[in-house]
């Protein structure tokens, strides 16, 4: 038996009931989950005592995801994430909890939105960490099949997520990560992918990011073919001062598919952020 130090609570925010978890004390570190999943992806970061000794690690399930509710009336609309709704939700959460100049770390869609945060909210943030960041990913499959009455959305979404992981990652963590996808509500993964593959193309704006105001760290797993190292390199090439690291042997969900390997890459970045004040 082991009782984890993670504590979960609900926050009523913008007509949604938002679930979040936290552990630790110090510099706020807000973690953003991937499309169609939830905050459990960061379980290892929240459980890492070397990080929580200096950081207050927080992760919230986006509305519609995990234990967070969709807004009232959800049955009457298609869920679609957009750049403005995503950035708005993150900053509303930061203000609601009174987080002072937090570090924000996001993966995949979260790795994309940190670029928008860098453009619009750099002065309110201490540093940004993009995992599996790409400025744009063209559609190479049709995500409408993930939201189809004759295809089990959980099984199909799980199979899509499964393939994005590294064949070298530990099987238990790989299948834990796939399970989160299998639990997603109908149309939620697809609604997130609208932002990722259509609306959230940020290629034309990232050259304006000023990393002197808010440092940007980009960590990308080499086995990811959705936001591949090449995609991250293309983004980093346009952003002066962005620091990029390729994570060997990791895939699209580094913090969840192989937590121990990922923590080896994350700890030095957090140490650098802590020491730079």
């Amino acid at each position: 038996m082991k009782l984890e130090p993670i504590v979960g609570r609900y926050l009523q925010l913008n007509q949604s009931r938002v679930y979040f978890e936290e552990a630790g004390q110090g510099i706020p570190l807000l973690c953003l989950h991937t499309a169609g999943s939830d905050g459990r992806q960061y379980r290892a970061v929240l459980n890492d005592s070397s990080i929580t000794a200096n950081f207050r690690v927080i992760t919230f399930d986006m509305p519609w995801h995990g234990k967070s509710s969709p807004p009232a009336g959800w049955q009457n609309e298609d869920y679609r994430l957009t750049t403005s709704s995503y950035t708005g939700m993150i900053m509303d959460f930061v203000r609601a909890l009174g987080l002072e100049r937090p570090v924000v770390m996001g993966c995949s869609i979260g790795g994309r939105i940190v670029l928008d945060l860098a453009l619009k909210h750099a002065k309110e943030l201490r540093a940004l960490i993009g995992l599996q960041t790409g400025a744009y990913v063209e559609r190479y499959y049709d995500p409408s099949w993930l939201d189809h009455p004759e295809v089990h959305g959980g099984r199909a979404s799980g199979a899509v997520a499964y393939g994005l992981m590294s064949p070298l990652s530990p099987q238990a963590e790989v299948w834990e990560t796939a399970w989160h996808y299998m639990q997603g509500g109908p149309g939620v993964f697809t609604g997130d992918l609208y932002f990722y593959q259509i609306e959230g193309d940020i290629r034309g704006r990232i050259g304006e990011i000023d990393t002197r105001i808010c440092p940007l760290h980009l960590l990308t797993g080499e086995y990811d073919y959705s936001a591949s190292p090449r995609d991250t390199e293309a983004a980093a090439a346009k952003i002066k001062g962005a620091k990029m690291t390729v994570m060997k042997g990791l895939g699209h969900f580094p913090m969840s598919e192989n937590p121990q390997a990922f923590l080896g890459y994350l700890r030095p970045v957090l140490e650098q952020i802590k020491n730079s004040g």
């Binding site: 190479y140 499959y141 049709d142 099949w145 993930l146 189809h148 004759e150 295809v151 089990h152 099984r155 199909a156 799980g158 199979a159 899509v160 499964y162 393939g163 994005l164 590294s166 064949p167 070298l168 080499e222 086995y223 990811d224 073919y225 959705s226 591949s228």
Partner: protein
């Protein structure tokens, strides 16, 4: 490699369970060689072509070199998953995509099974 699939799949209950409700025939093309894979409740039979007037629900076509990279142990980044091949333009999916997507996990595990050998 494809010829070995029935043994690799049918003796592995962890794969069979993902296709338990599947009763379909699909085509896999390895370069110029065609195979028809018939699934009955998750158990697999394989026939090697050429075929005359045979029906299938969906087809997965790739060059021999692409499949060889896909079957490496371990495969290189980007060559490790069917959708990875799709993004590279190294595989083509044809036919009834609904059936492919409904059994996607099973199809992925079946086609990756040669890596277990």
């Amino acid at each position: 490699m494809i010829e070995n699939l029935p043994r690799l799949v049918n003796e592995d209950p962890a794969i069979v369970r993902w296709g338990r409700r599947m009763n379909e025939t699909f085509m896999v093309e390895v370069g110029d060689t065609q195979y028809l894979l018939t699934v009955r409740d998750g158990k697999l039979e394989v026939e090697k072509g050429p075929f005359a007037q045979r029906a299938w629900r969906f087809a997965i076509r790739a060059k021999r070199e692409a499949w060889e990279k896909f079957w490496q142990k371990p495969p290189a980044p980007g060559w490790h998953d069917l959708f990875g091949l799709l993004r590279r333009g190294e595989v083509v999916f044809e036919g009834d995509q609904r059936v492919l997507m409904a059994y996607l996990m099973y199809v992925k595990l079946v086609l990756a099974a040669p890596r277990k050998a």
